[in-house]
Symmetry: D4
Subunit: 146 residues, 8 copies
Amino acid sequence: MELVVYLAGQIHDDWRDQVANKAREKNLSLSFVAPQTNHDRSDAIGEDILGEQPNNLYRDDTASSVNNFRTQVLMQKADVVIALFGESYRQWNTAMDASAAISLNKPTIIIRPESLIHPLKELSNKANVTVETIDQAIDVLEYVFD
Amino acid sequence: MELVVYLAGQIHDDWRDQVANKAREKNLSLSFVAPQTNHDRSDAIGEDILGEQPNNLYRDDTASSVNNFRTQVLMQKADVVIALFGESYRQWNTAMDASAAISLNKPTIIIRPESLIHPLKELSNKANVTVETIDQAIDVLEYVFD
Amino acid sequence: MELVVYLAGQIHDDWRDQVANKAREKNLSLSFVAPQTNHDRSDAIGEDILGEQPNNLYRDDTASSVNNFRTQVLMQKADVVIALFGESYRQWNTAMDASAAISLNKPTIIIRPESLIHPLKELSNKANVTVETIDQAIDVLEYVFD
Amino acid sequence: MELVVYLAGQIHDDWRDQVANKAREKNLSLSFVAPQTNHDRSDAIGEDILGEQPNNLYRDDTASSVNNFRTQVLMQKADVVIALFGESYRQWNTAMDASAAISLNKPTIIIRPESLIHPLKELSNKANVTVETIDQAIDVLEYVFD
Amino acid sequence: MELVVYLAGQIHDDWRDQVANKAREKNLSLSFVAPQTNHDRSDAIGEDILGEQPNNLYRDDTASSVNNFRTQVLMQKADVVIALFGESYRQWNTAMDASAAISLNKPTIIIRPESLIHPLKELSNKANVTVETIDQAIDVLEYVFD
Amino acid sequence: MELVVYLAGQIHDDWRDQVANKAREKNLSLSFVAPQTNHDRSDAIGEDILGEQPNNLYRDDTASSVNNFRTQVLMQKADVVIALFGESYRQWNTAMDASAAISLNKPTIIIRPESLIHPLKELSNKANVTVETIDQAIDVLEYVFD
Amino acid sequence: MELVVYLAGQIHDDWRDQVANKAREKNLSLSFVAPQTNHDRSDAIGEDILGEQPNNLYRDDTASSVNNFRTQVLMQKADVVIALFGESYRQWNTAMDASAAISLNKPTIIIRPESLIHPLKELSNKANVTVETIDQAIDVLEYVFD
Amino acid sequence: MELVVYLAGQIHDDWRDQVANKAREKNLSLSFVAPQTNHDRSDAIGEDILGEQPNNLYRDDTASSVNNFRTQVLMQKADVVIALFGESYRQWNTAMDASAAISLNKPTIIIRPESLIHPLKELSNKANVTVETIDQAIDVLEYVFD
C-alpha cells in the first residue's frame, strides 16, 4: 500500500525535500504532491498562460485560478495532507488548503512552531494531529505502516 | 424569505455591528450569527468550563474545541458566510472558516482591504465574491432580494 | 406544504410573471425565486458594487460572481427548478443552472419550444420532465398537490 | 501519476486530436476520454440500438439516453474536465457537462474564443480556469506536473 | 415536532386513509404525502399534460416522468417512508421508492403480508423495520413520540 | 480502461454467461460481478454460515444479510449496473438493486421484455437506458468504447 | 434560533431531566430528543409490536430495529448531540450513536467521568468537546447563545 | 479483484493473525489493515512523538489523535470492515469504528460471542452481518468470491 501525501504550506524554503528525504531514508511507501514551489513561477503563472493582465488584482487572480486548479487536482489524489506553517508569512492559502482537506475528510497533520500555538489553535483543534517538526510528522506517517 | 448570515473574522472591532446596522437601515431580511466576539471570553472559555489547564497549549486547545463547536453549530444554520480580513492579525481561523464554508457549498463573500489582495488571492479566487468594504458586502446581500 | 420554485432562464420577457399569475389563479401553494430579471442591472451589478473594471472581460466576470452568488443562495432554498429556453438566446447560464440543479438532485422541469428539441436533447433527457409551454409546467406542479 | 481528462464540447472538428497531439509532444502523462465524435453516429445511436422511433423527439431522446450514459461513465473516470465552446453551435450539452463536472468537484477548464466572453460569463466564473486556446489549456495541465 | 411520512406502495385500495385515520385517533403529530392514488389519473398524466403519445411505451414513459417528479419532490420533504406491499401487484416502483429512500438515509418501514416474506427478504433486510400490518407501522411511528 | 459491470437480476437462467460471452466476442474491456447465481446456495447461505434458524422468516433474513453484504461490496466496485427483469419472477431485489445503483449515481441499464413496459415504467424512466435484449445492452456498453 | 439536542446515553437514571431543567433555568432556547428511556419498554418494543420472537437474539434484534429507527428519525432532527457515558454499563450503543453523529457532522459533546478517560480516549478525540459533568455540557451549549 | 479488509477491535490477542491465516488457507484475495496491535506502543504513541504530556488525559488524547489518524487513513482504503468484540474489554473505540464504517457505507461484519448479544444489539442491527466466530466471518468474505 502506497500513500499519496499532499504537502501544503510555504514555498519559500526546502521543507518538502526534507520530508521526502526522511521518508526515503525510512523506506516509507509514500509519494508526495505539492503546490508549485517556484515562487516566481507560481505568482506569474496566470500571466504566463493568459497574457498580461490589466492590474495586480487580476494578475493575482489569474495566477490563483491556475494554482487552485493544480491544488484541487492533486489534493483529490492525496490520501493524507500535511500543512506546514512557519513564522514568516501569512499563509492564508495554507490554512485554506488544510481546512478544505479536513472538510473533505482527508486525514490531516499540521506542522507549526511552538510560537504559533495561539494563532493556529482552531485549525490545530480540527486537524487530526498537530506537531512541531518535520521529523514528528514523518513519525506519524511511519506509524501508519507500523 | 429570511437569510441567516455567518460573520467570520476578526473579533477586535465592531464590524459586525456595522453590518447589522446597515442591513437594518436597508430593511434586509437578514439575521446574523457569529463567533464569540468578546476576545477574553473566547480565549478563556476552555478553562472557564473545564478548569485550569496544565499549559498554554492545552488552554488554547480546550478554548478552541468550544469555539469550533459554536462555529460548527452556527455555520450549519447559515445560508451565507461573510469572512472579513483586516490588516492587523493573522486570522488563520478566519481563513479556515471561509474555506470550510466554501467546501460545504455555503455561498461566501470575502471582505479584505486592497493591501491584502496578494496574500488572500487563492481564497478570494475560491469564494463567490470578494469586496473591499462592508458596504459592498451589504450591496451583494441586498442584490439577492432585489 | 409550500414549495419554493427557482425559475431559471431568459430574463428578456415576462415569462416569470405568467408563471406566478397562473399559479395564483390555481391557488397553488408555490413561491418563486429567480435571477435578477432587469437585464441592465444584471450586467452592471459587478461594476455597480466593485467599481469600474479595466475591460469587458472583468466587467462580465465581476457581474457573474454576484449573479452566481445570488443563484446559489436562492437555488439552495428551492424545492423545484424550472428552466425555460427560448429561441433567441444562447442561454448557456440557463443550461448551467439546470445541470447544477439536476446534479444537486433538485427535481427539474425544462420548458422549451418544439424547435429546440434537438439542441436540448441531452439536457431534456437528464431533467425530470420536459414540456413546451408554461401551462404545462404549471400542470406538472399542480399535479404534485393533486 | 496519470491524469484522465474528459474533453467536453463540439464534435464538429478535430480539436480533441490537437489536444492529444500537443499533450504527446510535451510528454504529459495524460489520457483522454470524450463523447462520441462521429456526429451522425451520435445522433443515430438511439435508433441504431433500439430501432426506429415514432418521431424526431423520441429519436433524439433515445440517442441522448445512450450518449448521457456514455458521458456519465467516462466523466466519473476523469480527474479533470476541459469544455470547449466554439462560435458556431448552441452546445447546451457542453454547458450541461461543464456544470455537472463543476457540481461534482471535477477541476474544470473552459476554452472559449474572446467573442463568447459575454454569453459564457457565468460558467467561466464557476469553472476553475477559462482560456481562449487549446495551447493555453495544455499549459494549465502541464503546470500540474511542473 | 411534526414528522412528514411518505406512503409508498399500491394505489389500488384505501390503505393510506387507514394509516391517516389511525394516526389521527392516536393524536400523532404526523402529516402524510403520497403518490397520486387515482390510478387512471396516474397512468394518464403524461398524455394529460403533454398530449397523445405515439405508443404505449411513450404514454407510460411520460406518465412516469411526471409521477417520478412528484415522488422526488415529496420524498425529499419526508422524514420517514412507509412502503406497503400487497399480494396482487408487482409494484416494482414501490421497491424502487423504498430502495431510493434507504439509499438517501430516510428511516424506512416495510409493510408486507407473511406470504411475501421470501420475495421481499433483501429489501426487508435493508429497511429499518418490517411489519405485517398497518397497525404495527403506526405503533412504530407512535414509539418515536413515546 | 476497463469497466466493471454489476449484473443484477434473476438468477434462474444463464443470462449472465450470455452477457460475458458476447462481451468477449466483441473484445470489450469489461469484467463482470454479480450476486450468487446458485439459487439454493443463495437461499441457504444464512443457515450455512450461522446455523439453523428458528423459522423461515429468520432463515430468509440471515440469507439476505449475507447476500446484501455481497451486493454492497461488489456494486461499490462497479462502474456500471445492468439490471435484467424477466417475466417469471417478482424480483423485487432486482428493483431494489437498480434503484440503489441509480441513487448512488451508477450509470444503469435496464433489460426487460416488451411485456413489462407498464410495470417497470417508473424504474425505466429513472435508469439511463432501457433495452429489451442482452444484445442491445452490449451495444450500449460497446458504444462507450466506440 | 432554537437548537434541537439529541441526548444519547444510558437510560438508567434521570440525567436527561437534569439537562432539561438546567437548560430551562438558564432560559436557553433548546429542545431535547432522546431514545426511549423506559428500559423495559425499550427492550420489549420489538415483541410488543411484532409479537413473541423465537429466542433472545431475535427478541433483541427486533427491539433494536425499532429503537434504531427512532434514533435515526430524531438524530436527523438534531442540531447537536450530547452523549453521556457512566461507569456502570457497556453502552456500546451510546458509542455507536456518538460516532454516527460525528460521521454525519453533527456537533457532538461527550460527558464522561474522569475514570473513563482511558477507555473513551479515541471517541473523545473525535468529538468536538469532552466534559465531565452535565453542568459543563450546559455551559458549552449556553456559550453558543452567548 | 482484491478486497482490503479493516480489522477493528481488541488488540489484546492474536485474532487478526487467525483471520489472515484462514484467508490464506482458502486462497481468498484479501489484504488486511488494522490498528496498531502492540498495546503499549498504541498507548504511548502520543508521547513517543510529541514528548511527555502534563497528565494522563493529555497522554491519552495525543495517543488517540495519532491512532485515529491511522484508523482514518486505513479505513478509507478498506472495502470491508470486520469489528470483533470480546468479553473482556469495554472497546468503545471498536464500536466507534464500526459505527463510523457503517455511516460511511462500508460493508461491515460484527463478530461477537453469544454472551454479548444484548449489549451489542443496536450495533448488530445496523451492521450488515453479525456472526459469532472468526470462521463465520471468513465464510462471509469467501461468499463474496463464490
